[in-house]
Symmetry: C2
């Protein structure tokens, strides 16, 4: 069996693939409103201080801190109110000894003042006098110039995936466009004499194409652009023709090939024909997902994913996702997971990494991971499940009651 010629662990397989790729990031400029979840293709440096003036963080009174020292309920400090700071304007009053001016949260600290007393710790004595019942230290309730971020500081690094708060932070700096990695085009070819597109009625012995729809969505979720090319019959020339179209139109090619050994061998031959160095990994010590092919053709990664829908999803997650990240210059995608208590034993062969679908259930205030078993090739085990539990290469299984991380779908 051809596919056994190079069986690696999932980690080694991915490493070998990545060692054969030289990411050349293509960038484009987008406005902030279109930048969510995009990957920065530049290091961003703060062009200015935020804030660029000292600001109050409280509603209250701007003071010279020493004027409040020793103040208490019994012996308040009396200060003369000489004015008010209006929001969004230059503070053009200045605070002398024994003086204070009203200031609202966000207001610009006036000259002379070095702290703000919260309004709750003051009392009006008359129209132009307040008493302060607690001392403040210099700098208290004030954001200093550059305290949020200083001009010249690194804000966000190349490779960072932009989150909502990042976009707010960039807005504060007046950065309204960013240079991000272009979305990768990912060609998807499905194969199989028995497979028809989902909008067609299968004949006897035929089924509808499942994996294209799943892979299209996985590519979308990874932030890239799927290019579904349709279904090829189990015929070398038919598969090769679609695969070559994928090489021409896309940055990455995924062949979701049939499930029988002979069709997988044909897929391997097609991949070999696409370019050098060709197939790097043919078989991974992984279940499900053993008959995975990882290849590089003329600088582009080519994946032969197993036809079984569960395998297809697991291997996308293990190999395609991290490769899309690599090619975008992104930090590796962080798998979202929750902790749960395993509801039954999971057996596993040594020397193989296993992924078991689980459903999350709440019992007595605890989250339990209940394995969803099913024969190979079932689609609905994935739909009934909420995530996967990984059984490490040489763990030999996991015991009921263990706390495990559940990688959410």
């Amino acid at each position: 069996m051809k596919e056994l010629f190079r069986v690696l662990t999932p980690t080694d397989a991915l490493q070998l693939l990545h060692a054969n790729l030289t990411p050349q990031i293509q960038a484009e400029r987008v406005p902030l409103a279109a930048a969510l979840d995009r990957v920065l293709a530049e290091d961003l440096i703060a062009p200015l201080d935020v804030p660029d003036f000292a600001r109050s963080t409280m509603d209250g009174f701007a003071v010279r801190a020493p004027d409040t020292y020793g103040a208490s309920e019994g012996l308040p400090a009396y200060l003369k109110v000489t004015g008010e700071i209006f929001m969004g304007t230059r503070a053009d009053v200045s605070v002398g000894v024994g003086e204070t001016v009203r200031i609202a949260t966000g207001g610009m600290l006036p000259a002379g003042a070095d702290a703000v007393v919260m309004v709750e710790l003051t009392q009006d004595v008359d129209a132009s006098t307040i008493e302060v019942v607690k001392p403040v230290a210099p700098g208290e309730n004030v954001l200093q110039v550059g305290e949020d971020i200083m001009a010249g500081t690194a804000v966000l690094p190349l490779g960072h995936t932009l989150r909502p708060q990042d976009l707010g932070g960039l807005a504060s700096l007046g950065i309204v466009e960013v240079v991000v990695a272009r979305k990768l085009r990912v060609a998807i070819v499905s194969g199989g004499d028995e497979v028809v597109p989902p909008d067609q009625t299968p004949g006897p012995g035929q089924i509808r194409d499942v994996n294209t729809s799943t892979i299209v969505a996985l590519v979308q979720r990874a932030g890239h652009e799927p290019v579904p090319l349709g279904v090829a019959p189990d015929d070398y020339e038919a598969i090769a023709s679609l695969a070559r179209r994928g090489m021409a139109q896309a940055d990455v090619v995924i062949l979701s090939a049939g499930s029988s050994v002979s069709v997988r061998d044909m897929t391997a031959d097609v991949i070999t024909s696409l370019g050098k160095p060709g197939i790097l990994v043919h078989g991974v010590s992984l279940r499900p997902g053993k008959p995975t092919i990882l290849a590089v053709a003329d600088g582009k990664p080519v994946f032969g994913l197993p036809g079984n829908p569960v395998s297809c999803m697991v291997t996308f997650d293990l190999f395609v996702g991290p490769t899309l990240a690599l090619l975008s210059g992104a930090e590796a995608p962080r798998r979202q997971s929750v902790s749960a208590r395993l509801a039954r034993n999971i057996a596993s062969a040594a020397g193989r990494e296993d992924y078991v679908q689980v459903k999350l259930e709440s019992r007595d205030g605890e989250v339990w991971a209940v394995p969803v078993f099913g024969k190979s090739g079932l689609i609905y085990t994935l739909i009934r499940a909420d995530g996967m539990v990984r059984v490490e290469l040489d763990a030999g299984g996991l015991s009921e009651g263990t706390m495990v991380p559940v990688i959410l779908f």
Copy 2:
């Protein structure tokens, strides 16, 4: 202080808001390729069996199971090979006693056969005879009709958010379009005399608008459509005018109003003017985020979120996100979280729910949550952080070394 008239816990506040909303879900039909992360507005029932014919799950030989009983390496069962099943075609041979036909993974089980023997457990004797070295049970290595999903079974319920594997599952049933909840339009009004749009240069005492960019992205991430309406000065009529436009154009209105008490009071007056029943919650026992306003005006939720960027993000997550889910008929959004060990004590006042920003760090193979402290109003604490740790209402704090769930941003 007006805002103290109704201070509720976050949970009670959300409940009160939701009790005053009557979701009327508007639906639209979309193709599968546009359905990722959309919320189903219909219960989906399987229109047919999957598979709709018995299929082999292995490459091997279709047999009558009893013909293999007692077979072993020493005493194999001999079977006559009478044909081969071709993929994607009707199995028009039938298997008699002592007979077998070749079959590949996914092939249609022929009449007479009730199990498949893996090719690895057979040996060719001559061109038309094999020996079988291990017995199979009836049904072994076969997917029965409807074993994946049976016609008439509930597939996915109304309110389910569609994942990649769900789309694959629907494709297998020939369901190529789905009815989903229309994306909600969320109007966003920023306020403040000191606030200018991010593409303008602030004058003295002014800052750029941070919250609109963050809220736009939070709405996008929740799967809805942001409608940013710009920045209003601290003027009743200016804010009211944008808020009324929001009521006319959108399903939900968010006012991200100034940070001072007087501006918050003005925002409250504007919200009261928008429609009945008006303000339901004015102040939440929460830090950051206490001065949050929750209201309903003529059936639409209206939020007055604090101007402080950290508060704005926390309160969006606690109140706006779950409300968008309610109005879409969606199951509550599941917060993504990871477990981490707390790197230092966090103090908290009783009777208040606290959210503390943390950075995740790996130390000795463990993930630690390191609190990122900073003065109120800082933007970059959010950017330096990876997530938040919640301190429950009456926990009185959390101790260093405790394992805590970190809600990821």
